[in-house]
């Protein structure tokens, strides 16, 4: 099953749309609740990051019989130092985004903790692509 969603810059009102839709799809496929929980946390964080930091992007999801692959690809400022961005507590979120309770520097760590494979690639001034895989067993 292939699913696609568009992420719009600054569109916090719709943050979680992709995660919610993927959650429903996985439940219909009888994927275990523990796995669904992990997918939802990781994908939500990636969605919010694209909304908060980028100028828009795409969420591409492929669900196989044994795993889910999620790609969140944005056009944006990119991440100059990925290792630094992966550190818990590090954030470059704007003050108004922090006021909403985002930007605590927990997004990428939450992704890392909940997926089996995480690959972040980025080019400064071009954009960032986050690839995540969660195995069903």
């Amino acid at each position: 099953m292939h699913l696609e969603y568009t992420v719009v810059e600054g569109d916090f009102v719709n943050a979680g749309t992709a995660s919610s839709s993927v959650k429903k799809a996985l439940k219909q496929l009888n994927v275990s609740p523990q796995v669904v929980k992990r997918v939802v946390v990781a994908l939500y964080e990636a969605e919010v990051n694209a909304i908060a930091h980028a100028y828009g992007g795409k969420v591409l999801v492929d669900i196989d019989s044994d795993k889910i692959k999620m790609v969140v690809a944005d056009k944006g400022p990119g991440i100059p130092d990925i290792a630094l961005a992966m550190q818990e507590g590090y954030s470059t979120a704007r003050p108004e985004v922090r006021d909403m309770g985002f930007g605590a520097g927990m997004g990428l760590p939450n992704m890392q903790k909940n997926v089996d494979k995480l690959n972040v690639s980025s080019e400064v001034g071009v954009g960032t692509t986050v690839e995540m895989v969660v195995n069903f067993v």
Binding site: F12, Y44, V48, K113
Partner: protein, 110 residues
């Protein structure tokens, strides 16, 4: 304990999501950082927060929380409350601040 029983015990105001008042409560999580709640809250938790925007509802729904308690007499936007009604996850309000609210819930659930 159900959400309705919590409402009665703490004299909470039900802002929305009445269909979910029979939800069973299992624990509580207190945080205003959304990623913290996303990463650490558990299904059927009560969430105590001072955040009131629509993303609170999105997280409550994704995490299948029992209800959300807004502290210090706050309410949420019409849009948020409408979504709460749709999903049957109650938004409750208290005039208490977070410390008192969490303390009382701890006493009830311990």
């Amino acid at each position: 304990m159900t959400v309705q029983e919590l409402v009665n015990a703490l004299k909470l105001t039900v802002l929305s999501g009445k269909d979910g008042l029979n939800r069973e409560i299992e624990g509580c999580y207190v945080s205003d950082l959304l990623s913290d709640v996303m990463g650490n809250a558990e299904i059927n938790n009560v969430w105590v927060t001072l955040q009131t925007h629509k993303n609170v509802m999105a997280i409550a729904s994704l995490k299948e929380l029992a209800c959300v308690i807004l502290v210090k007499g706050q309410s949420a936007s019409e849009e948020t409350l409408a979504q709460s009604n749709e999903e049957g996850i109650p938004f409750l309000s208290t005039t208490m601040q977070t410390f008192e609210t969490a303390g009382k819930i701890y006493d009830l659930l311990k």
